[in-house]
Amino acid sequence: MGHDTNYQDREFKIIGTRVKRPDGIDKVTGRAKYGADAFAPGQLVGKVLRSPHAHAIIQKIDISKAEKLAGVKAIITSADLPDLTGSNRGMTDILENCMARGRALYHGHAVAAVAAIDEQTAKQALKLIKVTYKLLPHVTDVDEAMLPDAPIIQDFVLQDGKPSNIAGISTFGHGDVDAGFAEADVIVEKSYKTEQTHQGYIEPHACLANVSSDGSGELWVTTQGHFSFRVVCSTLLGLDMAKLKVTSSEIGGGFGGKTHVWTEPLALALSRKANRPVKLVMTRDEVFKASGPTSSTSMDIKIGAKKDGTITAATAMLRYQDGAFPGIWGMLGAMTAYACYDLKNVKTVGHDVLVNRPKVAAYRAPSAPMAAFGVESTMDLVANEIGMSPLDFRIKNAAKEGTQASYGPVYGPIGIGPTLEAVKKHPHMRAKLKKNQGRGMACGFWFNFGGQTCVDLNIGPDGTVSLTIGTIDVGGSRASLSLIVAEELGIPYDQVRTNIGDTASLGHNDTTEGSRGTFSSGMAAIFAARDAVGVLRERAAKMWDIPVDDVVWADGVATATGAKHSNLPPLTLAAIAAKAASTGGPIAGHNEVVADNAGVSFASHICDVEVDPETGSTKIIRYTVIQDAGKAIHPDYVEGQFQGGAAQGIGWALNEEYIYGADGCLQNTGFLDYRIPVCSDLPFIDTQILEIPNPNHPYGVRGVGETSIVPPLAAIGNAVSHAAGVRMTHIPMSAPRILKAIDDAKA
């Protein structure tokens, strides 16, 4: 506490330079160790048996034959896990999602798990487990799940005292929307649907669990939050938190999907039962069926405006599915829907709806892209109706400092206006379009979070610096954090190495979500470095035998101030470190902080598409991302976040979707039919970083990771409407949907 988190305007020496990342060499040589790359002596192979049905009572699980198979060392079902029924609902849901208790709630829901001496034996054992199911009616569509006669997914969910699939209704807004619509010259009302998508990280979930008979354990795992995994796993399995050491592997992508546990508690339980290490790696098929994709949605958007372009009222009725367990996804949609605009009268309602699909998890700015698709598509329609350019219409209504956000509070300084002005000036907006091509733009918002953070900075006897952090590195943050420490200490970047500590070597760190990695660990690193500078000054003072107040630290050296000390040559970090033993011992800096205020973030995207009017096929011709990043510590990796988010949004807009059959089973459980964009699908993605400093970070850093996935759905929808003359209201805008819209428009 007591650290000044306010932004201080300053000239940076190396912040903002494009240095090489420290983990680069391991990652280009194949040496980097990811979740599935670990090995422990005597390790077993873990495998999970999953429900082939969308909804069924599990009447009996007969493991007798499987148990007898040579090489099988442990089999677990829900009976081997604690029954949390009636205790903390959140933990119960997590556990029952990891392993079905009594009822399989979705196709792919785990019902049993096996540990065996090798892959072949484990697979064989799964086949020998006989599960007797009694099929129940299922529902996978969000609108159908809200109908009065829909099959009920969870008994504890009630609306007006009656069983329901509506797990939550969240209302936001202010003003009087009825009065606002009455004032409007133009009102546009439109319904939209978006299909379920998956984060699509290339690395499947993988872990290596090792629980000893004394109740201590280790977990090596690919995760966005090893500290949170420790909390959840130890709670679920009744282990002492301090006795469970969780180490995060290199992470092969997460995007929110690795913020939750899926098979890790099962691996620990298997290891405990078998008394041997268990490696459990999900197949791609399992990742699609049984990790945490995003919601499919159904929405009604209504916007009214005056002829001069002033929006008088806006509403959004949002229905988001949560999968089989309650979540907050509809609520987040309702909070973010109109966050870009300055509205006098606004009301949004988010429904969280249960269906027979996997438990929804966060996916990059969770819930915001869908609501933005509805709102930003309707914004274009209103602009067209009143004869204003969609860009000017947005500029006129953009939120600014002092605007009451549609989700409640009043904004401080924010960046939506500057991104829109940048769109106006961007050469992309003036580029000529050819036949069958169209241009669209859209805006997006995300909150960004900070959270509990803790770092250690240790100075080695040779004066090199090691920073240990507890947030994981999804996209180059170790480079950014080394830059921050080097900047603070005034030393070369190469002299700093950032490592990720395990749960035994640092205090609790919140999960790396909400675009918080560089923001919050960066803040803690600054304070830890300043802490270390204090120690370095003390040590220099001791070496010189002068008062510490006469020592200043600048440009990587301690200098004695004052005429009395003019004969003292400056002491380098290495020189002070070399004498550490005789001046008080190891030199270190520490910081523990709750890094709130990551700063809300806004982006505006411009997109050109070409639509083949005979096949409905859409090609992205040009794409530009403009986003407020606050200070960009390492511009390459800021651009990388912008480009990656945009690419995910493009995939979502055009092709990606979960396809469920009438039997409630997921039909596309691989990368062949769940189509994430390939290299030849995309153009170069232009980026423009706006650096509007975050007033609540010493360097002005904001979260940057998520917002860029928000605008693409609508930007592409708006571009398609200009290219093909049809307004698409169903995501993905696949070729068959576009061709049908074109044909329907002709008829």
């Binding site: 983990d23 040589t29 599935a36 990280y201 290339i202 790696v281 990656g644 691989g670 290299c679 030849s680």
Partner: protein, 158 residues
């Protein structure tokens, strides 16, 4: 389960391993030879994270049986470094920030190396199509394509 002994050449070294006949080359490389650079992203040939070369041809190691390697030459990402020096593609991937999480990187490097050996001066479009079998979810491919272009230029200088 039937096991066989396989004698093969990996990155120029003679290697022997025993494996079940139905095991994939990817599993043999990772679990028996200890080369974990090739990754399993899908196991069905759809992501390219396990790209290796088999007698010089680019393949997905998950779609080759371990036994098929007998008497043949395998190249993996671990073989890209020569005489302790990074391959220009490896240099440029780091320099151009062409990786974020890095899980797809080994596959991209092996695929890009195969491309540049066949076509030292590929167009942007040729690069994009040649790398279409390698999925990346972090970068939007932008910096990957630029890194391959830069490496090609660098290699032409030599």
């Amino acid at each position: 389960m039937t096991g066989v002994l396989v004698s093969t050449t990996i990155n120029g070294d003679a290697v022997q391993f025993a494996c079940p006949t139905d095991e994939t080359l990817l599993d043999s490389l990772r679990n028996r030879v200890g080369l974990t650079g090739a990754k399993e992203g899908c196991g069905t040939g759809d992501c390219g994270a396990c790209s290796v070369t088999l007698d010089g041809r680019l393949v997905c190691a998950c779609l080759v049986l371990g036994v098929e390697a007998n008497g043949r030459e395998i190249g993996t990402v671990e073989g890209l470094v020569e005489d302790g020096k990074l391959h220009p593609l490896q240099e440029k991937f780091i320099e151009h920030a062409a990786l974020q999480c890095g899980i797809c990187t080994p596959g991209f490097l092996v695929a890009a190396k195969t491309l540049l050996e066949k076509n030292p001066k590929p167009s942007e479009e040729q690069i994009r199509y040649a790398l279409a079998g390698n999925l990346c979810r972090c970068t939007g491919y932008d910096k990957i394509v630029r890194a391959v272009q830069a490496a090609a230029k660098e290699m032409r200088k030599k």
